[in-house]
């Protein structure tokens, strides 16, 4: 019997601390599978965010660094420029990347910094207990928007993939989701491509992963994935927003 599926080697034996049904575990696994497939475990360096994934450094077998809130792209820039042979990635949530870390993200993108960013968008601040995030949907009920996000006072959600693809520099930007088998498999391919781009020196690659937060959305894991399908994906359309590979061939 051949093994069809098992835990990737780039994940440690430590159990994830995430809530039951939290897609962070799926996304961690996809990143680890990409590292395994590309054989870069020895030279990958990850930058962990502040948020639920703050302890990502416990779960990956490659070298990891913890950045101050939102500063992962700046830290990754420093690592990549001093160790250009290594493969540097950040793993960030929406409270980290799209809020306090927006400046670092936009500037790393506009410099076409040769790093890989995994951006997990679940439309809420998970670790701190479910406050409204820059990516919370209009009308979405959170701890700090108990009557639903009012766009008159709180503004509209930030669509990171669209926003960054308005810049000339970034090499590859795609939005994927992990709400069903098909989307998970596609997300894995996109993440692997983002790492391969860096190995080939192509530049800034960002994968926005539409995720879920069953606990803070107040839904079961199954209903949370349904909510992704019904509410999140219509607002945050999946797809490739920038791929200079394809632009070059046109």
């Amino acid at each position: 019997m051949a093994v069809v599926f098992e835990k990737p080697k780039s994940l440690t034996s430590k159990e994830f601390h995430y809530c039951p049904g939290c897609p962070h575990g799926i996304i961690h696994r996809l990143v680890a599978e990409a590292i395994d497939n590309l054989g870069i475990e020895g030279k990958a360096i990850g930058v962990a965010p502040v948020g639920c994934a703050v302890m990502a450094y416990d779960y990956f077998t490659c070298d990891m660094i913890e950045a101050a809130h939102g500063r992962a792209p700046a830290v990754a820039t420093g690592i990549k420029r001093s160790l250009p042979e290594n493969i540097v990635f950040t793993y960030q949530g929406d409270g980290d990347l799209a809020s306090i870390g927006m400046a670092e993200t936009v500037h790393a993108a506009t410099r076409n910094e040769n790093i890989t960013i995994i951006f997990v968008n679940n439309a809420i601040y998970g670790m701190t207990g479910g406050q409204m995030a820059p990516t919370s949907l209009p009308g979405q009920v959170t701890q700090t928007s108990p009557y639903g996000r009012d766009v008159k006072t709180a503004g509209y959600p930030i669509k990171v993939a669209e926003l960054l693809s308005s810049l000339d520099a970034p090499y590859y930007i795609e939005r994927v989701a992990v709400n069903n088998v098909k989307n998970v498999k596609h997300a894995g391919k996109a993440i692997e491509k983002a790492f391969r781009n860096q190995m080939e020196g192509k530049g800034f690659s960002l994968i926005e992963v539409i995720s879920a937060c069953p606990t803070n959305w107040g839904l079961t894991p199954q209903k949370a994935l349904q909510w992704v399908d019904e509410k999140m994906i219509p607002y945050y359309p999946l797809g490739v927003y920038r791929d200079k590979d394809k632009e070059a061939s046109v």
């Binding site: 019997m1 051949a2 093994v3 069809v4 599926f5 098992e6 835990k7 990737p8 994940l11 159990e15 994830f16 995430y18 809530c19 039951p20 049904g21 939290c22 897609p23 962070h24 575990g25 799926i26 696994r29 069903n180 088998v181 998970v184 498999k185 069953p214 079961t220 894991p221 199954q222 994935l225």
Partner: protein, 68 residues
């Protein structure tokens, strides 16, 4: 024939594998509680398993190993 093994101790009983299974042969064990205090996912009919690994693909905790 395919073989699916569950690392039951680390299962959090979210049930995403149960929903993903196209053969509907996975279930949360209502008569069992693991170390974490959850009802772990179990295989109810190994004979019918086709080894598609959809369950493992959706599992957030790397509980499932699939052999074929």
């Amino acid at each position: 024939m395919a073989k699916v093994t569950f690392n039951e101790d680390i299962c959090k009983g979210c049930g995403l594998c149960v929903d993903a299974c196209p053969k509907h042969i996975l279930a949360l064990a209502k008569d069992k509680i693991n170390k974490k205090g959850h009802n772990p996912a179990v295989m109810t009919d190994q004979e019918k398993c086709i080894g598609c690994a959809f369950c493992a693909t959706m599992c957030p905790d790397c509980v499932i190993k699939v052999e074929k």
